[in-house]
Symmetry: C3
Subunit: 290 residues, 3 copies
């Protein structure tokens, strides 16, 4: 099980730890009981992996991270509770990040630094979460979602496939704070929420819409709409927006941009044509014709 | 003094450390000289508690925290200075948080992750400070104050009892930046400052008022007013706002919401009736009739 | 080379490490290969200094920091790459900060806590970067720049000498997100960008201008202009703004404020008069007469 395990100094490894081939630990790592580290994982110095974490193969965990962080039940009784955290293969979790137990994350997951992801979070594959972002738990992110730095995803949010969210955006969830009745925001596929926008509870951000920087969104935004201002108003259609440098239409962005996306090599149209209906529906992108 | 102390590996414990019964330390903890850990405290791995910290009983300090962080005097001369940090009983300080020496914090204090609290901060009891919040020091928070994630409290701020502040709110303090003449914001009891609002220096946010999400507050907000926009204008009275789900009036919130509050069991009216005038005045809530 | 090195417990020191006189390491420090620590440096506990870091004399690095953090190339191949990080003398980098390899930083650099500075960043001397600020790399900060807490500097930004940027400001860089054509913001000398402002890609923030709190800046701001609102409009001239307490003109601030500045002792006029034209041009302040 521990073929070729390389560890730095002062590491502490618990009971029933399954370590694949070719795993490397830095200095001062703490691996608690019942942890699984897939083959080829690299865990950098000072990182703490708590009980119940399963890390897919070839993942890299930066220094000073905490995986499988305690929930409130531990804080109350200080006893172990079973909240597994499963992270898919080829994750890259940068230093200083804290991920709670009780979430499931797909392959090719990537974070910046000092990220917090709380319990009850479902994250698809190929998702990126930027430095200082704070995912509050009990929410759902699809596949190929990209959150830039310092994004705040409130509880009950749903973020669909191919959504881009930029720095200092907040998805809120309490219509009359403080209260006990929460309503999450739903951001639909291909939508873009630009820097510093705040979305009020329970709203829909429509497919392919663009919420402008600093928009305070108090009504749902329709598909393909451009919404800006405080309060936000729909002022245009994304298909009228042109790239400042090329003069070409900039949206729908999928037709012009493929980095990090499954159509990076082929272009969107060919990739889309290769999907069957079931796959399109699973991604929520069966109807792109508007 | 150290009855039943349990420690992980590689801990370093200084001189004149007072440790109550049943204290647990994780791995790699550093407890410097002249620290007091009350009975039943739990200090998780990699946490550093500096000289002069007193931690009330049954407190839980997460991993990778720093309590009693150095002030500028240490940075200048690298010599020990006496800046005690006193934290009341039953604190829950989550991993990655940094609290300076030179502050006093009441019982049942709770933080999220990666919180920073600088020197000269006075915090009452039952206060909660969310992940990534940054309290800049020389300010005062009352009792039962709740700061959500990523709130920035500028120096000289005063936040009264029962105030709620939501993500990415900033209380500023310099009217003509940069300058040396600061003026703190004063948030009065029961006020709510919603996500992303910025409050200009020296303003009053009136009792029971509601500052809307994204409001840029350039004038004081009157009691019970609803202020929204950039710049913010008073557009309504909180007593006209209804809960979206129940249709009932949502404010004053104390009449409908008690979670985390001393009236959680009894309702507000009964709790309030049980206070004598002195207690009401101490909390700044002697006159609620408007 | 290691005259008088003091180290705490469990430190790990690599090969070819050059340590000047009178250096102190805390506990659990990790100093990798090919690191240079200038005389009188103090590195606090749990801090990790990676290969290729050069730290100027008398610098203080707080606890839990990472200097010389890995770039994407390491994440991909897990092999050492040469990305030196050079930090000038008398730095003060507070606990929890992460600085990548591949940047050059001048003397008297100062950070708050949990700061992130990515690769390809050029920073002049006497620069201060507040708690939680996130400098995304491939950008340039001049001398005597002051970033307050939680400032986000996008890639390709240029921030000139004597600029002040306040909390939660974002300098963006993608005009039609997501795209591959970035355009950085250029903030000119003496400009002030107040709390929560967002500056759109490629814009100029003119010399001595003041961007108000919460401004969403969609057009370049002219020298000496005051721009406020969403979207921001130029509403005044900074020379008309008065200090609220003294009633005196507050701007250009250099005439009234010298803290942290090279004219702290002499006043601006005398200091400016002492510069020759070449020095003024190097700082971009050869023409202040407007």
């Amino acid at each position: 099980m521990r073929t070729g395990l390389k560890t730095g100094q002062n590491c502490v490894i618990g009971q029933d730890v399954r370590i694949g081939e070719g795993v490397t630990l830095g200095h001062n790592c703490i691996i608690e009981d019942h942890v699984t580290l897939g083959a080829g994982c690299y865990v950098d110095s000072n990182t703490l992996i708590r009980s119940g974490v399963t890390l897919g193969e070839d993942s890299l965990i930066g220094a000073n991270c905490i995986l499988g962080e305690y929930g409130m039940d531990f804080c109350l009784d200080r006893k172990p509770h079973e909240h597994p955290l499963r992270i898919g293969a080829r994750a890259l979790i940068r230093s200083g990040s804290i991920l709670y137990g009780g979430s499931v994350i797909g392959e090719h997951f990537q974070t910046g630094h000092q990220v917090t992801i709380r319990e009850g979070t479902e994250i698809g594959s190929h998702v990126s979460v930027g430095t200082l972002s704070d995912i509050q738990g009990n929410c759902r992110l699809g596949n190929h979602v990209r959150l830039h730095s310092n994004v705040h995803i409130g509880q009950l949010s749903q973020v669909d496939d191919f959504v881009w969210i930029y720095p200092y955006v907040v998805l809120t969830n309490d219509p009359t704070p403080p209260s006990s009745e929460f309503a999450g925001v739903h951001v639909h596929p291909f939508a873009i929420v630009a820097t510093g926008a705040v979305v009020m509870p329970g709203l829909d951000i429509g497919q392919d819409s663009l919420v402008g920087a600093g928009a305070i969104v108090t009504r749902s935004v329709r598909p393909y709409a451009v919404a800006v201002g405080n309060p936000a108003r729909e002022v245009s259609d994304v298909r009228k927006v042109r790239n400042r440098f090329t003069g070409e239409p900039a949206y729908p962005w999928r037709e012009h941009f493929g980095r990090y996306m499954p159509w990076e090599e082929t272009g969107f149209a060919a990739w889309y044509a290769s999907l069957d209906l079931e796959e399109k529906e699973a991604r929520g992108i069966a109807r792109l014709e508007e």
